[in-house]
Each structure stands twice: as structure tokens, then as C-alpha cells.
């Protein structure tokens, strides 16, 4: 008699197990999606620095070991770009100067400045002579690398509002 009771319980609890496992899966995926939504808005994990947008590497010629297409660098207060190791974004190739350019944030606006580099910094194809403001969708070319500036809508709204 006891055996029958166990059998009925075990058979019906199969559904409970299946439902629970899929709740675990669903909630995990939901949570991960939420985390990405937050990260895209610049509110990445709690202890990371705030970011004001993303410098996304859309193109990178071969022969650079430190950077590759598809990498995304969050834009922080001050982001140095160049060949030497102490830069935020390191482009290890001879046609890039040691301190090549700097992208920085002032009053929630993002600017780029060329640090008197030899081969220049180009925003949307034009060589940067003085401090230039950059906006969502702008392209930045430095040596072998082409960056795309991405500013998530959440941050843009905040800037206006």
C-alpha cells in the first residue's frame, strides 16, 4: 500500500520538477537580459566606473595584438588612446603615437582631442585639429583601427532632461 502511495507521489512530482527547472531557466535568462539592459545604459555592475557611452571597434587591420574588431570600451571620464602600455586603449602598431589621442567627458558631453600625433586622428573622415565634440554614431579612425561611438538612448535622454 505504501509502495502505491509512493508511486503516485513520485509520478505526480515529475511535473513539479519539470516546472521548477524551467522556472529556474526562465528567471535566469530574464535576469541576464535585465543585466544587459542595465549595462547598455551605462549602469554596469555595481562596482564598475560609470560609463557615458561605448567606443566600439568596428574595423581593425591585421597585425595588432592588443585590440580586435568587436571589442567594446566603455567611455569613462578620461580615456587615453595610444601605443604605450599605460593607455586605456592600447593600439600596438608603429603608425600610432605613444600618446595618440584622448576622449574625455566634460559636463556630460564627450570630446576628443588629438595629442599631437604623427599620423593624426580622424572623426568622420576629417582630421581633428582642435578639441572636437563627438556624438552617437560618429566614427573615429586612429591608425589601423576604426571606432564607432555608441551612446545608449537612456544616457542621451538624461543629458537632455
Amino acid at each position: 500500500m505504501r509502495g502505491d502511495l509512493y508511486e503516485v507521489t513520485a509520478l505526480s512530482s515529475r511535473y513539479i520538477f519539470i516546472i521548477l527547472i524551467y522556472i529556474i531557466l526562465y528567471r535566469t535568462i530574464k535576469g541576464i537580459k535585465m543585466e544587459y539592459a542595465l549595462a547598455a545604459a551605462g549602469v554596469a555592475k555595481p562596482s564598475m566606473e560609470p560609463s557615458y557611452g561605448i567606443l566600439s571597434v568596428v574595423e581593425c587591420l591585421d597585425g595588432v595584438s592588443t585590440i580586435w574588431a568587436g571589442m567594446e570600451f566603455p567611455i569613462k571620464e578620461r580615456n587615453t588612446i595610444g601605443r604605450s602600455r599605460d593607455n586605456y586603449i592600447i593600439i600596438d602598431r608603429d603608425d600610432v603615437s605613444k600618446q595618440h589621442a584622448v576622449v574625455y567627458v566634460e559636463d556630460k558631453k564627450i570630446y576628443i582631442e588629438d595629442m599631437h600625433s604623427k599620423n593624426g586622428t580622424f572623426v568622420n573622415g576629417k582630421r581633428v585639429r582642435k578639441v572636437t565634440r563627438i556624438r552617437d554614431g560618429d566614427s573615429i579612425a586612429i591608425g589601423p583601427v576604426m571606432f564607432m561611438v555608441k551612446i545608449p538612448a537612456a544616457i542621451k535622454n538624461q543629458e537632455i532632461g
Binding site: 505504501r2 509512493y6 508511486e7 507521489t9 513520485a10 509520478l11 512530482s13 515529475r14 511535473y15 513539479i16 520538477f17 519539470i18 521548477l20 527547472i21 524551467y22 522556472i23 529556474i24 531557466l25 528567471r27 535566469t28 535568462i29 530574464k30 535576469g31 541576464i32 535585465m34 543585466e35 539592459a37 542595465l38 545604459a41 551605462g42 549602469v43 555592475k45 555595481p46 562596482s47 564598475m48 566606473e49 560609470p50 591585421d62 597585425g63 595588432v64 595584438s65 592588443t66 580586435w68 568587436g70 571589442m71 567594446e72 570600451f73 537612456a154 535622454n157 538624461q158
Partner: protein, 421 residues
Amino acid sequence: MTYRARGRAWDVLTAIIIFNLAGFILLAFKSSPIDDQALHMAIFTSAVYVISYIIMISFFKQCDKYITLLIFALSSIGFIMLYRLDAQTAIRQVQWFMLGISAFFVILILSRYMRGLDRYFYIYAVVSVALLLLPMLIGTIRGGAKNWIEVGGYTVQPSEFVKLLFILATASILKEKRSMKELLPLMAFAAICMGILVLENDLGTMVIYFAVFVIMLYVATSNIIYVLGSLITAGAVGYVAYLTLGHVRTRVEAWLNPWADATDRGYQIVQSLIAIGSGGWLGSGLGLGQPYIIPAAKTDFIFAAIAEEFGILIAVAIIAMYFILIYRGMKMALSANDPFNALIAIGAAATLGFQTFVIIGGVIKLIPLTGVTLPFVSYGGSSMVASFMLVGIMQSTVIQPKPSGEVYEKEIIGERYSESY
């Protein structure tokens, strides 16, 4: 907003604990006087999960809590299945789990202070080869493979731990662009490791090492020639092994048609397939099937045992959990700022992924069977601790020295975002 994001993870933990409690309580009622031990297990394992999770979110905020939660879910299914097969094994598995998660936390703490791990290729290489050679000198044979050594009454499988060193060694060479000549020491090291594993008859682990090596090589160099070269070499070596080594041929033949020799060479695969088939979509119900008939049901074939009693729907969910785990690892590699860390994350994720693929593929007769463990589910101390250490080095790539201040501002951005969301 932060509350809601946190709330999701707690939901997942709650669901895992209900699953864990339900499984053990059901097992407790299986025997005629209620099995107190199963109830103790239910409470103890749930407490271990909650405590580990609280340690995780309070001291290691940068780390990926979803990976930890998925490990809890996988190990919970493992504990329940092992308890159903043999209570003593399950109790030991819980001890290994606790040892593993402690090792995981220790690695996370150490990674805050350890810098420049990428400079010691030759140390990693020598230690790896020495550890791999140990079983040949003082080893014991288990399940046809000579890859175990005895340390103080416990058997340890060095090849599980060498995976970590193998990843560190490979990443420390590939972190910079290298010429063909500079890659030679690495190639030699990888070839020696795989050669030793073949001699020890540990083919499954050899396949994992090879796959991880090729993936890391491709990720680092983007050079398809290296990959094609490795694959062609591997194909040639594999074919020669098939012709010359008896046990390789046995495995391939048992894979192509296990039913031809269902009582001997094909026995394991046949039993595994019968078990999965008899379970069906919903499973036979916990405690109502006969998973103990499957050979090595506690270790290599635990996936077949789970598929029989829990059903294919849960087996598919397990595969999905591994998928998310590996995806998160790859995502970590993409967000790493430094190629060495990116390669470590890729290596660790690829190791876990291939190990899962090799054993689940073998059990369901998708690929020839080679005995490796299913990470976090199969019984085994070496496997459990080594898998935790792999996840540890994977997660340690996101740990950076603590930034000072700025926490308040982030909270504000979070709040505003939640209003517009």
C-alpha cells in the same frame, strides 16, 4: 531598479532550493520508515547553497551570480540522483562540493592580489608535464585509464587540475602576437601533454585539451591555417590510432553499432540508450526507474540516469544550463580589457563546454564514448574541485582592484534609468 535586478536572482535561488528540498523529501518517503538522512541532506545542502550565495553577493559583487546559481541547480540534480543511487556517495559529493566552492572563493580572493600571472609559461609547462606523468609512475588503473594517483587514502586525477595550468600556459604565450618560431615551445608543450594522456589511455581528456588548445589558438591569432593544420594533424593521428590501438577501434565500433555486441563492448552504450528511451519525455519518476543497471551511473553515465528518472525535458534543461554557463564565460572574455584575461576566460569556458559535449555526446551516442565526468553533476572529488577552479579563474578575470568612491553616482544613474524604463 537594483532591487528588482536583485530580486530575480533571489527568485532563481528560491526555485533551486524548492527543487532541492522536493527531491530529497520525495526520496525520504521512498523507504518504509522515513529516511531521516535524506531530510538532513535536504536541509544541509539548501543551507550550503544559501550561505555560499550570501558570501558570493556580499564579498564578490563583480562576479557573475548567475553562473553560481546555475552551478547550484546542476549540482542539486546531481546530489538527488546520487542519493537515489547510493546515499554514501551523495554525502561525499556534498563534501566535495563544499571543498570546491571554498577553492572557488580562495581563487577569487587571491586574484585581487595576484598580478603578472602571464610570465610563468615554463613553470606552468614543467609542473603540468610532471603532474601528468605522476600517474604513469605511481598510478592506479581505473575504468581502463591509468590516470589516478593515491594521496592519503584519496584517489586524485591530476589531469583534471592540469587543465587549469594548461589554460594559463597557453594564454601566457598567446597573449601577444607571436611568430611561428615563438609558438614552437607552446606547440611542443601541448603535444607532450596530449601524448601523455594518450599513453595513459585517457582519450576523453585528450580530446578536451586538444579542442581547448585549437580554440585558444584561433581566438588569439585569427589564423585559420593554424586551425586547419591542427585539425589535419589530429585527423591523421586519430586515424593511425584507430588502425593501431585496439581500444580506440573498440570504442569507434561500439559507437557505430553498439547493438552488434550488446552484451560486451556495446553494453554501456546500449544500457544508456535503453535507460534514456524508457524514461521518455517525463521520466519514470524519481525512484521508480532502474538507473542502477547502467554501468558507471554515478560518474560518466549520470546523464543517462537523470534522463531516465527525471525525463528528457529536464535533460534538455540541463544542456540549456550548460549553454548559458558557457555563454556567460564567452561574454566575460569579450568584456575583458586584456588579452591574457580574455584568453583565460575563453579557455575555461571552452573546457567546461567541451567536457559537457564529450560526455553527453558519448552517452546519447552522438560521438564515440570517452569517459569524462559531467561537470558539477557526476560524482568525483577531482572533477568537482577542478570545475570550480575553472569557473574561479574565469570569474577572476573580471575582478579589478577596487575603484575608489563613485558608488553614489552610479546608484543615481540606476534610479533615473528605472524611471524611464
